[in-house]
């Protein structure tokens, strides 16, 4: 197929063919990761800039690794080490990087629309690595990749996403990605952590506050990280109560399908939203997700850079 998008700002609007194309491309890079020297020359001579305005270890590392496995040059900064702290505006930062002539920009930012803001103003391609609570498309893709490996396809499969729905970019990208691929989706969490107009925004997505009601029917359960500082804002009363209502425990797993796929975008609060026995158990694809992350990001970088895949 012919790829027509300059950037990857979100999964909203991507077709099933386009997502499948990325996942299939990622499959080929996934094999590369098994080689003794996991390196292809596809992006040799290209420069990728990682701009991380928010603390992130796994996503920034994953993108850096993906770019290096493609033989690209990777430069990057995080908020703590850049002039952002000196008060430079995003617009000035954009102009600066544009004049350095990079080929691609990966950006993580706390404000929705930040990746789009940059994409509208530079020639290089832009990959959104998370913009506030809006989207995190490569996370959605790696979730799809890891789940597809277990389930084969998504038709008539049911994804349950549990946790802080309001503040999660992961859930929004999951909704666009999984629903486009044919899955049914239900989000679950306390009423204080689900936006009041969520149903209107996503009419085909189910909403449920009782986790136990959903266990028997789920083919995939995605547990979201609980941001502990939300407690201070009065959004949930205590970890003890959250755990009682929403922790994916071994006990709850007994009510789930035996082959249910358990996902978590990480980093996990072990013992809060997911019990260690479940996180490390046979249903969990948490580590497969991390590995899938590198392959998917290689695929996205490769496709957006317009590379030709040999062999």
């Amino acid at each position: 197929m012919t790829w027509t998008h300059k950037n990857l700002l979100g999964l909203e609007g991507l077709s099933r063919e386009e997502i499948t194309f990325i996942l299939d491309t990622a499959e080929r890079f996934h094999e590369v990761l098994d080689r003794p020297i996991p390196l292809v020359p596809a992006l040799r001579g290209k420069t990728i800039l990682n701009m991380f305005y928010e603390a992130s270890t796994r996503t920034s590392t994953s993108f850096a690794m993906a770019a290096k496995r493609l033989s690209a040059d990777v430069v990057g900064f995080s908020k703590a080490s850049s002039s952002v702290k000196k008060g430079e505006t995003l617009l000035d930062t954009v102009r600066t990087i544009e004049s350095m002539r990079v080929d691609g920009v990966v950006i993580r930012h706390s404000c929705p629309g930040a990746a789009r803001f940059i994409a509208q103003r530079i020639d290089a391609f832009v990959i959104n690595a998370g913009d506030g609570a809006h989207e995190h498309p490569t996370q959605g893709l790696l979730d799809l990749f890891a789940a597809r490996k277990r389930l084969g396809s998504f038709e008539d499969r049911h994804l349950v996403v549990v946790g802080d729905i309001t503040h999660s970019r992961v859930v929004r990208s999951a909704i666009y990605g999984f629903s486009t691929m044919g899955a049914e989706i239900t989000v679950c969490g306390p009423a204080t952590l689900i936006p009041p107009h969520f149903k209107k925004a996503f009419p085909n997505v189910g909403i449920e506050t009782d986790f136990d009601m959903l266990l028997a029917d789920a083919d995939m359960i995605m547990m979201l990280r609980l941001q502990l500082e939300r407690q201070g804002k009065g959004l949930f009363p205590s970890i003890r109560e959250y755990r009682k209502l929403y922790c994916l425990t071994a006990e709850r797993m007994k009510k789930a399908k035996p082959d249910v796929v358990v996902m978590h975008p990480g980093p996990m609060n072990r013992g809060i939203e997911i019990e260690p026995a479940v996180a490390d158990g046979p249903n969990s694809v948490v580590l497969a997700q991390v590995r899938a992350g590198v392959a998917v990001r290689m695929a996205v970088l490769y496709i957006l850079a317009g590379g030709e895949l040999e062999h």
């Binding site: 505006t89 995003l90 617009l91 706390s110 404000c111 929705p112 629309g113 936006p195 107009h197 996503f202």
Partner: protein
Amino acid sequence: MSTRFLIRGGYVFFPEEEAMRRADVEIAEGRIARIAETLPAEADTLIIEAQDKLLSPGLVDLHVHLREPGREDTETLESGAWAGLAGGFTTICAMPNTQPPTDTREQAAFIRKRSDELGLARILPIGAATKGRAGEEITEYALLKEAGVVAVSDDGYWLYSAEVMRHALEYAGMLGLVVITHAEEPSMCEEGVMNESAVSAKLGFKVRPGVAEEVAIQRDIALASCTGSHLHVAHITTARGVELVRQARAKRIKVTAEATPHHLLLTDEALSSFDANYKVNPPLRTEEDRKALLEALKDGIIQAIATDHAPHAIEEKEQELDLAPAGMIGLQTALSVLWESLVEPGIIKPELLLRLFTTGPASVIGEKVELKEGGPANLVVFDPAARWTFDAESNRSLSWNSPWFGKKLKGKIEHVFLGERHFSF
């Protein structure tokens, strides 16, 4: 000394009767000399042909932000007064959130004096309701009034303390001053960028929910009721907020309200563009809210259209939405965009729109608007068919943060007569 003008063949809006009819208007020596169906042109008379054009008393804006003193790079009293004139406003009320704020007699007197010196749109200061706009101690309302203040408000902030708001109403009521409330309960709006709706649920923005406005209006109405004082709700935006005002007015509580052009024409769907020009406080609401505002205009629940003209520097606006300041400019575009979008399609009558721009707002601050023989010249000529582009050349403001900037608009102010002065645009 001054020129005699004959404005011929236009549709004249007579505010007292709230009627429009074709008439010739003669202006001489800063006054309206004659009004009649047809007037002969005297010698030395400058004739302005106004067939298919509209004559109205100068418009009144209850709510503008002029950034002087403090941020003269984004607007001065002079540039704001020019923008007002170009939009047909001959009276504009300046909110007190300058640096320093208009919280003393001296600050208010400075604005009045400057306004007189300029001789452009008349700038009426609104005094801060509390010292430093800190929400704690009320300012010297009597001295402020003496210096020309027409209302008090901590606009930008809701008076969080119910006790302070009660005293503000009591004290202002004693002096016949109106208290203008920015009705948004702030604990519900922290860091909020847009309305809470299906759009925010999709985009992931932090929110300023409509219920925050309801909560604030509800409390303020209770306090207006108990004090008997006049409460004016600035930039009302929600269907339920309007309903609260409707109920209060039915109980004869002294509550008035204004709506902005942007809340009457735009909805929160605009934020899908991630364009910071659509970030305003209170935020753009839903289509349902917008329709409720239009109904409230027709029912007389909302008495005034006010622009909430809020200039911001481009470098402040061209940022991530979370960081960009809220507000858009509106003085120069208000009449044009509302005429084209509401009057032309027949959604509201021209007489109503002009009332909402003239006698409506004037009555909130206890002023009169006249258009009659012998009265002072305070008159604008508007061509509803004229096409123009709101761009760097036509813009009179020092800022250009407006979603209409760069757009082709229909309907233009061509002349303003204000006392002995005549401006053409």
